[in-house]
Symmetry: C4
Subunit: 295 residues, 4 copies
């Protein structure tokens, strides 16, 4: 059902990424900036991520021998350096995820926020990241240009395909590692009135079951399976136990390639360079002016 | 449980329509007209429809040998001519679905929008369509009059029955091909904060399971089963795989008639003309002035 | 688990009521009074109730030989006299449900609305009804006084117990036939943006399964099981098929008493008069002034 | 999966608390203070808690021989003294839960509310409670200081870990008994438009199934399992029957320690004093000024 499946390394039938956005308590600070510092419940809900969930997740990855991708807002990098160090020590990748999880569409002067986050990456992570994921996926043309300008190799905020595709702008190119609400843990698990996100909270196995069906379909089609999940949600004890069990079973019984997104970008560059693969291209900007009947 | 079941062709027990509303990114442009052109995530979510999902859906239909109905806003016809051509080449029908998915209740001067969409149909689809579905189902009396005036044969926006019924106005008549929230994919799958539609996103099999129960009931009653679904939601990889499997099983094991809505209108005209069937009638307008205690 | 179970007639273990609120399109008229008359989709969604669902429901009741309770706003009685006549002809009861489904808490001059609805009952139903259910359950003290004043025998809008209980005010007494969100069909099936009620729409069997669990618990405890459902939701084809199947199985395999609420009030009066039962009492008004720290 | 499991008494594998917040009708009074006294439906929904559900719950606890923790707003203590007496007579604990369920973040002069609730505890419960849970979990620094000042031994409003942890401030220390949305009954069961909390209402077994999965994970990890539930929701007939069945099965087949939170605080103090356990510490305040780019 995928018209141009990627030839994955060693003939693997599916590439798999469990990508974590470690937003911690940035979410409450950007949403309620006046008094968020005194909102101890949402702060504590977010802190669970870097302090409890990330060590748990990293231990699973270490035991299973897989490397994965994390996206961390710059302010979280500065505030939770131990979690950042543990992620990097484990051989994982940290991508750009804004500074304080600010929505690019809402945040004036996106360039300043973007650069401030980049400084945190330079200081704590040893350089410019390879990839970017927009907070709440809200990438815009300005950010896309910033990515190209700073030499980013991929974005992971858009939904125009099931598998990685090529984004081309007049300034340069990027890989798009596409996201999807069906593999995001906000719909099944987020219950966060302060940011207006009140989902009914599925039980662990039920909330995750849709993800595994998405994997089954991607696997059958020789595709790309990526979870977009959060340590403070999917890294909770009961949920992560289910994910870990699924990881073990999948590694034991399926022919998949678990990889970091930058490794997947490497591989894509290689198969394109060798002529083994022609990716789908999306040329941007899609539009340069408002759409509609007032035109 | 249906008091006046339609005699379907060749004694089929149920008429079946998988109707797709290919809205693409019109939804974000009408909802956020000021800056939608820079909102790359919802644009990309919508573009998945014409570029990835529609070819997939058409391939399934081609393989299974069925023709179905699509509703496409005029702006989408102009913006995605390749998808439109592929739909038409496959022998499918394209109905009127507004110009930019504007809600008729909210859009002043509905007539201008309506005509503008009609121009797109004339230019790209070869004539006036047979059918209409109101964006967000919000048909009003003005649009109904426009449909009659332009010779449309059916509307598909209302819910007054389980099976097709006759709409009669002082200006003329139409078939109503009734919709229902229980066979619409927005409730199980739409997660779209920009348009205020935040459903918890069911897993593929769970989200679709209600549809199949609706079919079972329609089949038992000798009725009419229509899905109102969207390429960017139900045309996603894992969901469409489930629909395809259901289509194959249903075609193999049930006595059903998969048809385009205009073909169903043809059939209805015929059984009415032959006296084999007397349809239920709804006379409109229902009301000519506001209802209530201020009368 | 019920401390004072009612002794039901003939030793039945549970009293059962499938109570229908036939609101038809009153809901859109009270919510959007300016232009509701031109909103054809929600009107048609509501009309499904009196024209398609009610005949279906009545046929099931006729076949199974049970009499049940309907609540119908006065305006709906006037607008859908055929449905009203069919309900009454079937031996069912019609209770007071406001005039245009106006929320008593929001509607100024509740008395005028109440009397206007009463006129419709007198004209079409042959007298003052025995029972009342407040639109959106929002009964207040003024309405309670009106009920007592007009000789109503029961209300069905409150939730203070699992089984019928006695409401006592300084002006008189009533039976309360208690409702509960766990046996109401708005949470599983209502998807109605115009009135701000956007539930994710469960599949038929899943949406109804909670009701049957509620019955099982009521049956085990020797209690009272009442559904609060709507023809345009639960009277839809696939859902009603499930309810009908449940009714048949329950009638065949359980020792239950299906009855109208006024019959249940009769029985309660009788067991109280005979000394066989002492009901729980709630004395109202609960409060006579605002509660809080400003007192 | 828990890095520092607590050694529970007698080698039990998991500590278990079914904590009930008996909010009764305080919720409507704080949300709609102008006319809440006349809103009989939400009042009755809340009254179900102290009058019907609490006696049922206490009977289960008595029969099974377990003591648990309740949190009751001060106004509810004054308004429902019989329920309070029954809880205390059963050997259970009553913690501080605000005065009228006021959200500390929204309520000016938190100290006055806090003291007023404390007076109710002194008058009806025989002294200062050991524990506190913030209404809607919204504890802030001022309340934390009040807890330390009044000698409270634990809070139960935050989410920074799976198991109890130590909160340290410059003024003193407390145990935190952490909460989580995955073990709270508002997401599966709350349907309360007056307070803006419209969940789709899961069936009893489905709504509770996530809780039992959370227990399974806590049990496997040697952790801490706490439900945060409400008599007017989880104390309803069908739901409580499921909880009771689970309690019986768990007591019969698992090695768990059901205890009051103050008993758990005792045990924690003891294992810390003996050197058998070193708890995780969170030092507060987390922040002393607003966070963000305006710094």
């Amino acid at each position: 059902m995928i018209s141009n499946p990627v030839p994955w390394p060693n003939g693997a039938r599916c590439a798999c990424v469990i990508s974590f956005d470690m937003d911690a308590d940035s979410l409450i600070h950007i949403a309620r900036s006046k008094d968020s510092h005194d909102r101890l419940y949402p702060i504590s809900m977010g802190r669970y991520g870097p302090t409890v969930a990330v060590p748990r997740i990293l231990e699973t990855y270490r035991r299973l021998g897989i490397k994965q991708s994390f996206f961390v807002p710059g302010w979280c990098i500065e505030t939770y350096p131990d979690a950042v160090e543990a992620i990097l020590t484990g051989g994982h990748e940290i991508g750009h995820h804004g500074y304080l999880h600010e929505d690019p569409i809402d945040a004036p002067d996106q360039s300043a926020w973007f650069e401030k986050a980049l400084e945190a990456h330079h200081k704590y992570c040893g350089g410019t990241p390879s990839g970017y994921r927009a907070p709440v996926y809200n990438i815009n043309q300005e950010v896309l240009d910033l990515l190209v300008e700073h030499g980013f190799r991929y974005d992971s905020s858009m939904m125009a395909d099931d598998i990685p595709y090529r984004i081309e702008t007049s300034k340069g190119q990027l890989w798009e590692m596409p996201v999807h609400w069906g593999t995001d843990d906000w719909p099944p698990f987020a219950h966060y009135s302060e940011i207006g996100y009140m989902m009914p909270v599925a039980g662990p196995s039920k909330g995750l079951s849709g993800f595994w069906e998405e994997f089954d379909a991607a696997y059958d089609a020789g595709g790309f399976f990526m979870l977009i999940v959060h340590p403070f949600l999917t890294g909770r004890l009961a949920r992560w136990k289910h994910v870990e069990t699924w990881l073990e079973e999948t590694l034991n019984t399926k022919d998949v390639w678990f990889a970091r997104l930058d490794e997947i970008a490497d591989h894509l560059d290689q198969v394109v360079a060798s002529g083994a693969y022609v990716p789908r291209r999306e040329v941007l900007p899609y539009y340069t002016a408002p759409i509609g009947h007032t035109e």
